[in-house]
């Protein structure tokens, strides 16, 4: 039989504890990596929502002074003497669709009111309606880019 080493201290943890700790660490680590991978999988990588650049017809289809609301695209196309503009109809309060009224917009959900340029005139809305960039697409149609917000009062001259 081997003699026990007398001068050396006994190790603080025995082999069984060491190996079991190592094993549980491995289990925990692979569990963490698994959870992380699954979260990465579930994080939306592809946008299946509606397109953000939309064509809204030719400029000559609009008469001066018209406000044409496009419910599906959630945008109102405005033609004034100065030119064309596209204003969001998504209320800045809680996201309902505002409707065009005389002299501005009004939200049916909680009564927010906006003037013709989308500035808040009443109700709980915290900020004005967004203005989107309007340009002329190569085929001559107006194109609204909902990714690009521009200052209120900026019109596209045609």
């Amino acid at each position: 039989m081997k003699k026990k080493p007398t001068r050396m201290q006994q190790p603080e943890i025995d082999r069984r504890t060491f190996l079991s700790t190592l094993g549980w660490l491995g289990v925990g680590l692979s569990g963490a990596v698994g959870v992380l991978g699954n979260l990465m999988y579930l994080k939306p990588a592809v946008d299946y929502g509606p397109p953000t650049r939309i064509r809204v017809g030719r400029p000559d289809e609009y008469t001066v002074g018209i406000k044409e609301t496009r419910e599906n695209e959630r945008v109102v196309v405005v033609r004034e003497k100065e030119g064309f503009a596209a204003i969001s109809v998504t209320c800045t309060h809680l996201g309902c669709t505002v409707r065009a009224t005389e002299g501005g917009f009004e939200c049916p959900c909680h009564g927010s009111q906006f003037d013709n340029d989308g500035f808040v005139t009443g109700g709980p809305a915290p900020s004005p309606l967004a203005w989107y960039q309007v340009s002329i697409a190569p085929n001559g149609e107006l194109e609204v880019d909902k990714n690009v917000k521009i200052p209120a009062g900026t019109y596209l001259r045609v």
């Binding site: 991978g37 699954n38 990465m40 999988y41 994080k43 990588a45 592809v46």
Partner: protein, 257 residues
């Protein structure tokens, strides 16, 4: 059930609380130290009680079964989990399905891993179910008193093939379309019931949106649900029929637990 070895009480109130929570879940204490303790541990665990408390020595030999049934079961579990995860992105629509499948392959993080695991596990499940049945046949395990479990096994084989067939359509590519066109046409050749069956599966005269939604519902709800139920019966019968088959069956008709 009483724990045979009460430990001396030198725990704190918090420790005792956690101990009582642990015992409310696992009933029996820590790792069993003797035969009685091991029996209690097996009785009181849903996952362990699939095994009988005592097994014949020969059935522990790996080469008797090669673990084929366990492998097939594990594959079914893999397929359930990966399948549910794929459902987060898949959309059973004739216009959307193919694009969603391509997105899973290229755009979604780890999407190709899940899709490929699901695909290969599905092929492997058919393979191992067939091997498992071959093992059962060659060891004579289909003979009484296990003849009913053999029938359950055949139902499980058919459900596996059904899952394989219905899953084939879902990628909605050319392979899927023509495989199901041909497959359902073969079903149409059956006498009398063939043509109604074909229409019943497709929901229409040809493979289209109706077929896709029917195959989808069969694939993700109906067939896996049926398979789970028959799987439970299958396991239960293994225990009630006295565990794995063994030579002594031929001499002693009475089954001892």
């Amino acid at each position: 059930m009483q724990a045979p070895t009460p430990t001396p009480d030198k725990r704190t109130a918090v420790g005792m609380f956690f101990e009582s929570v642990y015992r409310s879940i696992f009933r029996y204490g820590r790792l069993p130290r003797d035969g009685e303790g091991a029996s209690y541990a097996v009785f009181n665990s849903l996952f362990l009680h699939i095994h009988p408390v005592k097994v014949a020595k020969h059935s522990l030999r790996f080469t008797y079964t090669f673990g084929l049934g366990v492998i097939a079961t594990c594959l079914f579990v893999f397929l359930t989990f990966t399948g549910v995860w794929l459902m987060f992105y898949y959309f059973p629509s004739a216009t959307e399905a193919y694009g969603r499948m391509l997105d899973l392959r290229s755009a979604v993080d780890f999407g190709f891993v899940l899709r490929n695991v699901h695909k290969w596990a599905a092929e492997a499940m058919v393979f191992f179910v067939v091997l498992h049945m071959a093992r059962v046949f060659f060891t004579g395990a289909y003979k009484p008193p296990r003849e009913f479990n053999w029938i359950i096994g055949i139902i499980l084989l058919l459900l596996t093939l059904g899952l394989s067939f219905t899953g084939y359509l879902l990628p909605w590519d050319q392979l899927a379309f023509w495989a199901i066109t041909v497959g359902t046409s073969i079903a149409g050749y059956a006498p009398v019931v063939g043509e109604p069956l074909r229409r019943f599966l497709l929901g229409s005269d040809s493979v289209g949106q109706e077929a896709l939604i029917r195959f989808y519902v069969l694939h993700v709800v109906i067939l896996p649900g049926l398979l789970s139920i028959f799987l439970a019966v299958h396991f239960w019968r293994i225990r009630k029929d006295g565990g794995l088959s063994h030579p002594a069956d031929n001499d002693t008709p009475a089954i001892k637990e």
